[in-house]
């Protein structure tokens, strides 16, 4: 059981990849990319977790509480921002592709063959 969080992280990555490959819709595909990306949030936070640890936010200076790792949380914050920006760009491109071609199906968008 103590490896379940890591397994869920891997699961999200693999599920996201599978979704991207099988997706028939660019908007859905963009959301699958963010699912794959959210695997990294779970992985990072699971790594930094400490049993019976509290959030790394302290109310007083001398303290004896055991806190989880603040670094992975900072990394995840950055990761979330990157994820939302990329998703916004992808969705904008999907909307534009639809405007141009009238379809969101990647199988019908085949301008760049060969």
């Amino acid at each position: 059981m103590s490896y379940a969080p890591y397994a869920v992280a891997v699961w999200l990555l693999l599920a996201g990849l599978f979704g991207i490959v099988t997706s028939k819709n660019l908007i859905h595909l963009a959301l699958c990319v963010t699912v794959a990306q959210s695997g990294t949030y779970v992985l990072l936070l699971a790594i930094g977790y400490r049993e019976h640890g509290t959030a790394p936010i302290f109310s007083d200076v001398p303290r004896s509480r055991r806190a989880v790792d603040p670094v992975v949380q900072a990394l995840t914050l950055t990761d979330i921002v990157v994820g939302v920006t990329v998703a916004a760009l992808l969705l904008a491109l999907a909307v534009k592709a639809h405007e141009r071609t009238g379809t969101l199906d990647p199988a019908e968008l085949r301008e760049l063959r060969g």
Partner: protein
Amino acid sequence: MIGVQIAALALVAAFGLAVVLVQDLVRVAMLYGIYGLTLVVLLVVFQAPDVALSELVVSMVAFPVIVVTALATIRRRERRGQ
């Protein structure tokens, strides 16, 4: 590991898969919102309130606005096309 963490992990894994498998856009949009919330719960039980707040505002504000407007734009366009 405590029960609430296991439950949150199971929810995240299940809704992540659901988002990936469902192809209908409106349903995906709703599932994605729920998926975001399950992630928030997971982040809270992993003692990461800062990250949970980030994920909360992203999945409750940013994504809904962007996804819904994108869907609305496309729907309007399709309606005209018919």
